[in-house]
């Protein structure tokens, strides 16, 4: 690393240039922290400390807790137990089930929400009357609290809720959407798709608008039709944004909690118990913070693994 040394205003000693000569580069390490770098460090320090204290330190502490037995009520503090928590996870049927539920939840929400959001983004990526209202209306669900949205959907799905009232009017039998093992997770998924649609659409719309128009014109000159333009211009141009959307959706969906807590509390018969919901019960209902931390780090490993796989899968094709 080298630094630029400005002329000394008083012509004092030092490596300052004389007579307006261009500044010369030096590589004296003692000078590194004297000027711009020190100022830069000071500017970065508050944010760096924030990340260190409030984000990295708790994560590190959580990792340490995962190797301990710890109840926050206990006066003795965490007791180290090695990898016992992780070994226990291997035979915990509830944890295995929650991983499957979480995987199914991600698998059934992700493709639909990305495909539907892409369709909507293509639809609103053209000028027509009311396009602004349409875009805003689709984005609104994303800015409302997930818990509040879940409360509304709890009523929609209830025995006397909107959907059953409509079924009643149509002369169809009412359904127990959230009380049936076969429909509960699907019902939660529908709500999550509706919720995620707007934000994904906005991101993909931004991606669409960053694709140079010249590429479409060139494609048309070469005789490409609508499908050809989509296949060979839109999709490759949208790939970076698609990668981002898919990765972020995996991260958020795999951490599904609020909607499960409000809609089903993990039931019926554990059919909607996601890993995050299980972590909540272990940590805050049963005070087993060490075991819950181990669950959290296994979930973290799964999320990181699948996110990397999806990124490599999508970006790999680009190569």
């Amino acid at each position: 690393m080298s630094v630029v040394v400005r002329p000394s205003p008083k012509g004092a000693r030092g490596p300052a240039s004389v007579g307006g000569a261009p500044p010369r580069r030096i590589s004296n390490p003692r000078r590194r922290w004297t000027n711009a770098s020190r100022s830069g460090l000071l500017f970065v320090l508050p944010a760096a400390l924030y990340v260190l204290v409030f984000q990295l330190a708790p994560v590190l502490y959580g990792l340490i807790l995962s190797f301990t037995k710890y109840s926050p009520l206990s006066r003795s503090g965490p007791t180290p137990i090695g990898v016992e928590n992780y070994a226990r996870l291997l035979t915990d049927a509830d944890f295995g089930n929650s991983l499957l539920v979480t995987g199914r939840y991600v698998a059934q929400v992700l493709p639909i929400t990305v495909a539907a959001a892409l369709g909507l983004a293509l639809l609103v990526n053209r000028p027509f009357r009311g396009v602004g209202f349409f875009r805003s209306a689709l984005y609104v669900p994303h800015i409302v609290s997930l818990t509040a949205v879940s409360m509304v959907w709890l009523w929609i799905y209830s025995q006397n809720g909107l959907i059953n009232e409509i079924l009643g009017i149509l002369g169809l039998p009412r359904q127990s959407w959230l009380l049936d093992q076969d429909t509960a997770l699907n019902a939660a998924s529908v709500m999550r798709i509706w919720m995620a649609l707007g934000s994904n659409m906005v991101l993909l719309l931004a991606g669409l608008q960053s694709i140079p128009k010249e590429l479409y014109e060139a494609g048309r000159v070469d005789g490409a039709g609508a499908w050809g333009l989509f296949r060979y211009v839109t999709l490759p141009g949208l790939r970076p944004m698609l990668v981002y959307v898919v990765a972020m959706d995996i991260i958020f969906l795999a951490q599904g909690f609020a909607e499960i807590y409000v809609l089903t509390q993990g039931g019926p018969l554990g059919s909607t118990t996601t890993v995050n919901y299980l972590i909540y019960t272990q940590a805050f209902q049963y005070n087993q913070l060490g075991y819950a931390s181990a669950m959290a780090f296994v979930l973290f490993a799964f999320i990181a693994g699948f996110s990397l796989l999806s990124i490599r899968g999508l970006m790999g094709r680009q190569k």
Partner: protein, 447 residues
């Protein structure tokens, strides 16, 4: 260069140590309390913090605008009151205990007491209770029992709780049943429910003859009530092992399961949480149920909102051959003193004020609960309410859940297997056998 490296290393080490100390400071727990004896701290003046569970605006207004200001006026003390919603009270208390910032006095349900006791977080109150008059102790004896762990008082209940069957007298009459002679056995309740149940052309139930709670937590309480009314118990006498996997337990669970399943089912909506729905959406109000389990508060709200309906309360039924019918209940939420509080005398003074006869009636009347004192039966609040009269009459038949460490996990474990049986995924016997094995493990792990 070496000096600079050492300087950097030192600076880095100090920074990491400082940051770690700062972060971990919030995780360190305080040392055990000194166990101040009652009356050691002057009660004139002083300041205490109190956490109440709940979000009921009526209760919050009553406590913060009337009861606490009156206490402050009478004692010259300052009381800082915080209401924490039920779903977060355990989490926030745990965090506060870990950080050493827990309040002097806090409220919770009896099910949580044993865990606080195991971790020495709450002050034993037996000595304080002994200082009450004999009359007071006798007046509150039913309630106080529910706040004890191994015979030691830790929680002082502010109200009684429980559930009884509420029934629609008009439905009884229309079905040819006598509303003045409601069934006294669970077999009789089942037979009445069969007559009260209505179905549509497809055979689907449109009006449940009987609705018992079958949602999470609710189903464990329903099962426990049926088990007790059949002569069984949830744990053994020493509270060291599960005892619900008995013949009585299997019969009770078979009964519960049969209500929702088969051609003779009398209940619809397995797993639905009707108890917490708004008054206007209660099944008995909508006409989709003729009998339902309800809390005193819920019943009073239903009756107040539907004065034209003839709604009555049934005493806890028993199974044929059993001695007595029981219902889950007993001591309701109450107050405990933090073992680390530096103001224990003032904290006790506050609890004493809350359970004083006048304050107790004022508080329970304000929140629509059953008073913890048996003498409250003579107050106009109870005398003028047929519902409260019924609950006070049934008070000796209310039985609380066992106060053992790890109870919440035990309850949820039982709940999980009960759900399997209710959904016919396994037989009652298998569900209870497996639940008992899992519960025994939890009891063992919690010492």
């Amino acid at each position: 260069m070496q000096a600079m490296k050492r300087h950097r290393l030192f600076t880095g080490t100090v920074t990491i140590a400082a940051v770690s100390a700062f972060v971990l400071a919030g995780c360190a727990g305080p040392t055990a309390g000194s166990g101040t004896s009652p009356g050691a701290v002057p009660t004139e003046g002083g300041k205490i913090s109190v956490w109440f569970p709940g979000t009921d605006p009526t209760e919050i207004a009553l406590v913060t605008k009337k009861i606490v200001p009156n206490f402050e006026k009478a004692t010259g003390a300052q009381v800082s009151v915080t209401y924490v919603d039920w779903s977060n009270i355990s989490t926030k208390l745990n965090a506060a205990f870990a950080a050493g910032t827990a309040p002097d006095v806090f409220g919770h349900g009896p099910a949580a007491v044993a865990d606080f006791v195991t971790n020495k977080r709450v002050e034993p109150l037996t000595n304080y209770i002994q200082q009450l008059s004999e009359k007071d102790r006798s007046d509150m004896s039913s309630a106080l029992q529910g706040g004890q762990v191994n015979g030691v008082q830790y929680l002082v209940p502010l109200s009684m709780q429980g559930s009884l069957i509420m029934y629609n007298a008009a439905d009884f009459t229309a079905a040819g049943l006598d509303p003045n002679k409601p069934p006294t056995t669970w077999e009789g309740v089942r037979a009445a429910a069969k007559q009260l149940t209505k179905r549509d052309a497809s055979g689907a139930i449109t009006r449940s003859g009987l609705l018992l709670p079958s949602q999470p937590i609710g189903r464990q309480q329903t099962f426990a009530a049926l088990l007790l009314s059949n002569g069984g118990t949830q744990l053994n006498k020493e509270q060291t092992a599960a005892a619900f996997d008995s013949q009585q337990g299997v019969a009770a669970l078979d009964y519960f399961t049969s209500l929702f399943n088969g051609p003779d089912a009398v209940s619809a909506g397995l797993g639905a949480n009707y108890i917490n729905t708004p008054t206007a959406q209660q099944p008995i109000v909508l006409g989709t149920a003729s009998m339902e389990f309800q809390t005193p508060n819920g019943m009073q709200q239903i009756v107040a909102a539907n004065p034209k309906m003839d709604l009555r309360v049934m005493m806890p039924p028993k199974f044929e051959g059993a001695d007595k019918g029981y219902a889950m209940g007993g001591a309701g939420p109450g107050l405990m003193i933090n073992a680390d509080s530096k103001h224990k005398a003032l904290a006790w003074k506050f609890i004493q004020y809350m359970i004083a006869p006048d304050t107790s009636v004022e508080y329970t009347q304000g929140i629509g609960a059953v008073p913890p004192r048996s003498s409250a039966a003579e107050t106009s609040y109870v005398k003028n309410s047929p519902i409260l009269k019924a609950f006070v009459k049934a008070a000796p038949q209310f039985v609380p859940n066992p106060n053992v460490p790890g109870w919440v996990q035990i309850r949820d474990t039982m709940d999980k297997f009960l759900e399997q049986a209710l959904n016919k995924k396994m037989s009652s016997k298998d569900a209870l056998t497996q639940a008992a094995a899992a519960v025994d493990k939890i009891l063992k792990a919690n010492g």
